[in-house]
Subunit: 346 residues, 2 copies
């Protein structure tokens, strides 16, 4: 990347979605799945991070329960670059802890925060946006990467752009809007003044920690304590997202647009868009009269007849058959599996 | 049953349908499946036959390849009552061979021929119809059991009833019509003069063999030869169904109606009508927004979301997902599996 203070990458490897059950389980959440290509999403994020920085400056934050799985998935991760959350507390404590740890290594670091469960098709465009974001961050802004909406999605947070752009292809963020209803989402889309919040951030580490201490002092104290060697301090960290705890309250928040084939892969339908018909498994697929049908997993032969847009997820102990149009409703399936007394499968 | 000459039951255990793939395979055809209840269709037929006659008068005809499976499925079958077809040759040679063997045991037998891959819900009504058919058969008729159509099915043969009924709730058959087209099937249904040919027959054994010798002498010679101890004679038996070879040409053919909850279970859709949602497997089923969905087989948890009328067939090496409305088209699936180089799964 361009010159200036060295910058570090933090990969967030926590999270326990149920949207990809039965392929995702509590001990193998979404980021460990190869939902778009041959590599897991986490591994894809790692590989992208490594195009930005050498391994000594790529950090991974993960809850204790996933630490072993992260190490196995990322053989290139340096042992002392894995930051373990004593227990899951949402994104604000996780990110704050990583930044506090980095601050002890490198007082002048610029930090790039990346979720590990999204897909980015265009690695070059991604790298260019991160470079711009770094330049903007060196001007003291807390920078979000923002995605131009192509539909009135109700599952994302939106960033409202201020009127006066910041030199270097950025805009000030004047409002954070969490998951709007459909009518509002349509207005946002029409207005052209909103971007999706992709959960990717770039900032001067010192500037972020100052802002954290100001707007979220409990998170700051707890995570600084853990970083200084007192894991017990973690217990005082509230369970809160970075957007709520920090970004919505911080000053000088900016957004740099990212146009790099980003997808948060929030459902089987989204995964199916990125998949070949036989994705993720080694068995034969026989599909007749079933355009848009996708099979995930499994070594068996799977035959589908006259079921357009069906998703079949074949795992050794559980099988899911769902229409793509309904794949946002996976929570009801997971709840029914729990109600049937099979929480062991979740 | 009522008095008169002793009667024997012949169960036809051959046939190799592909309609129930992947649960049915070449070595485990439909009659070995528990498609309606806990027992296999073959076992259900055996149990029904045993309400008609003692084990010494219940015979099973099966091709050599299935003989072992038949013995395992029917522990009550006497070893010397299993008639083995040296190779599959359709129903005329199979039935003729069984009747020729029976004739050597019992010159005055009345024979009841039953397919093994249908379901009959009302065992008492079945028994009553067979008793009527036996009385009619003792008057020298070759008797078919006929099912009153409840829809213009195009997959069955039809029997046209003659104008003057035979005393004892029977009618002469004046025409055999193989699988009509839809328009003809609708006319048949409206006319009230047609019954479905259920492939169940009752006759005096001697009378059948006389008629066989007259209208199908090649079949008669070949099967008499095998029954007399020359298995090589089988090679001269043509591959032909009983309807074509005998019934359409025979004189004095009659039909006795059967109203006993009969179903030939010709498709997954038909099997689904007889199944409970978790039929045939031991795994949990989680079904949401999917009325009419049915799972066959498997020990895994199967979850189905928003796919009404879907059929899932879960076997260790192959999985089928099909809409019930399309389950008549299984041949295309089986052909595609073969084309994919996986004939080993058929």
């Amino acid at each position: 990347m361009s010159g200036g203070d060295p910058f570090h990458v933090v990969i967030l490897a926590g999270g326990s979605g149920t949207r990809f059950w039965p392929m995702s389980r509590a001990k193998r959440p979404k980021q460990f799945l190869a939902l778009a290509g041959r590599r897991s999403l986490l591994r894809g994020t790692w590989d992208r991070a490594r195009t930005l920085a050498p391994a000594e400056r790529v950090w991974v934050v993960a809850p204790r329960a996933l630490a072993g799985a992260v190490r196995r998935e990322l053989p290139g991760l340096r042992r002392d670059r894995l930051v373990v959350e004593p227990s899951p507390r949402d994104t604000a404590p996780a990110i704050a802890l990583a930044c506090a740890v980095i601050a002890r290594h490198d007082a002048r670091a610029v930090t790039v925060v990346l979720p590990s469960d999204h897909v980015i098709r265009d690695a070059d465009a991604f790298k260019r946006s991160v470079a711009v974001a770094c330049r903007v961050a060196r001007g003291k802004a807390l920078v979000c990467l923002g995605i131009k909406p192509d539909r009135p999605a109700i599952g994302f947070g939106y960033l409202k752009l201020g009127a006066r752009p910041i030199p270097g292809v950025a805009s000030p963020v004047v409002e954070f809007v969490e998951k709007p209803d459909a009518a509002r989402a349509r207005r946002f889309l029409r207005s052209g003044r909103y971007l999706w919040n992709a959960g990717m951030f770039v900032w001067q580490n010192e500037r972020f920690l100052e802002e954290l201490a100001r707007v979220a002092p409990e998170v700051a104290r707890a995570t600084a304590g853990v970083a200084a060697g007192s894991p017990g301090a973690w217990g005082k960290a509230p369970r809160i997202s970075l957007d709520y705890a920090v970004m919505e309250k911080a000053s000088q928040v900016a957004v740099v647009p990212l146009d790099a084939g980003w997808d948060d892969l929030g459902s089987w339908d989204a995964a199916a868009r990125h998949a070949s018909p036989g994705s993720g498994g080694s068995g034969e697929r026989v599909m007749i009269g079933s355009p848009g049908a996708v099979v995930f997993g499994g070594k068996r032969v799977v035959a589908i007849l006259d079921l357009p847009g069906v998703v079949v997820v074949d795992t050794p102990d559980a099988l899911l058959v769902v229409s793509r149009a309904s794949s946002e409703k996976m929570k009801s399936v997971v709840e029914a599996v729990r109600a049937a007394g099979r929480a062991d499968l979740l």
